[in-house]
Symmetry: C2
Subunit: 111 residues, 2 copies
C-alpha cells in the first residue's frame, strides 16, 4: 500500500493542526480527518493512538481525562506552546515539501 508510506511524516502534523483548533480526543480526530478528506485519509487506531502518545511524550500536546455523564472517559489533548512553535514550522515545511514533490511529478516535460 502506497498510502501507508505517504502518511508517514504528515500524520503528526495533521493531528497537531486539528488539536490547535481546540481540545480534541482521539476518536473525534479520526472522524474529523475522514470527514474533512472525504475518506481519502482513514486513520487506523494503531496509528492514531501511538501518534498521540508520541506527541505527548515529546511535549507537543498535553492530554487530560474528562468524564462524560454516562461515565465514559475521554482523553482530550490541547497544544502546548512548544507544540505551537513546532506546528508552525512543520506547516511551512509541508508547504515546501508538497510543492517540491508536485513540481517534480507534474506533467510538464518540455518547455
Amino acid at each position: 500500500m502506497f498510502e501507508r508510506e505517504l502518511l508517514k511524516g504528515s500524520l503528526g502534523l495533521m493531528l497537531m493542526a486539528l488539536i490547535e483548533q481546540g481540545p480534541m480526543y482521539g476518536y473525534l480526530i479520526a472522524k474529523e480527518i475522514r470527514s474533512l478528506t472525504d475518506d481519502v485519509i482513514d486513520l487506523k487506531e494503531g496509528s492514531l493512538y501511538p501518534a498521540l502518545h508520541r506527541l505527548e511524550k515529546e511535549g507537543m500536546i498535553e492530554g487530560f481525562w474528562q468524564r462524560r455523564e454516562d461515565g465514559v472517559d475521554r482523553r482530550y489533548y490541547r497544544i502546548t506552546a512548544a507544540g505551537q512553535a513546532v506546528l508552525d514550522e512543520r506547516r511551512a515545511q509541508w508547504s515546501r515539501f508538497s510543492a517540491a514533490v508536485s513540481k517534480v511529478v507534474s506533467d510538464a516535460p518540455s518547455q
Copy 2:
C-alpha cells in the same frame, strides 16, 4: 528529521515521473531533483539506488548499461508499460493525498 518520513511513499513516484520523460541514470536523477526543488529535496545515495533497484524488480522501470567514451558505465532506466500505468495511478493518488493533508492542515479554523 521530519523530512525523512515525509519522503516515504513519494520517492518512487518522483523517480518514475522523471524517468517517464526519457531514459535517465541515478546520479542525474538526484541532480535533477535537487535542481527542480531548489534543494528542498536532497536525495541520498542510500535512498536513491535501492529505490531504483526496487522499482526495477517490481517491473516499473527497466535498466540498461551504457558506456561513455571515457569508459565509465552508467545505468540508464526507462519506464515500462506497467510502470506507466502505475505512475498515472500514483500521480492521481498524490494529488488526492496532498490536497487532503493540506485541507486538514490549512489555517482555516472557523467558517
